[in-house]
């Protein structure tokens, strides 16, 4: 599963820490999501997508590995 969180965050001018605060998670969790080391829960994925004004499937992409 790939995602565009890093790109969307950078385009919004947010730091990882700022996005983490907005999402109620740690900066490490945002970093882990961006680097693909952690697949977020559905509520967190939806909150991230909503934060950037996108649908979940526009932010998280199925790369066919599952």
């Amino acid at each position: 599963m790939e995602n565009d969180v890093r790109t969307l965050r950078a385009d919004s001018g947010l730091s990882q820490a700022q996005l983490a605060t907005a999402m109620g998670v740690s900066r490490q969790t945002i970093n882990a999501i961006e680097t693909g080391r952690y697949l977020p829960s559905l509520p967190l994925a939806m909150a991230l997508a909503r934060h950037f004004g996108r649908a979940v499937e526009e932010v998280f992409h199925d790369d066919g590995s599952r």
Partner: protein, 135 residues
């Protein structure tokens, strides 16, 4: 926010729970050792737990410390915590089973490892049943 459900009751998320818990554990450990006549071990354990409590209380700059003590915990840390608990439990079970075999091979009845293994096995089955019912 959306991670509240993943982190357990609020009491465990306050920054003072783990320091107080560590200190209480240190006092209980030291008390038990003192009752058993092991004063030097009692003092050592009390100092050790006090240091751990201080790290939890004043190590707030570290995200890892904040997550371990609860106030910086989120869903990823809850998942890591769960996996770490499962790994630790698996290691304990393997050691208990190996200890049972060792005791039996030396002509003993396997106590207390057989009882510990039974407690672990029954606890696992009960947890499976309860968690499956919860969905």
């Amino acid at each position: 926010m959306m991670t509240d459900h993943a982190s357990g009751p609020g009491l465990f998320r306050t920054r003072w729970f783990m320091p107080v818990f560590a200190l209480a554990l240190g006092v209980l450990t030291a008390g038990a050792l003192e009752l058993g006549g092991q004063r030097s071990s009692a003092i050592f354990s009390l100092i050790l737990f006090a240091v751990i409590a201080a790290v939890f209380a004043f190590g707030g700059r570290s995200e890892t410390v904040r997550q371990m003590r609860g106030d910086g915990r989120d869903e990823r840390w809850a998942r890591i915590d769960l996996a770490a608990t499962a790994i630790a439990g698996t290691v304990i079970i393997v050691v208990v089973i190996a200890a049972c075999f060792y005791e039996w091979a030396n002509g003993r009845d396997g106590s207390p490892y057989t009882q510990l293994g039974a407690v672990g096995g029954v606890s696992y089955l009960i947890a499976l049943a309860v968690l499956a019912r919860r969905g």
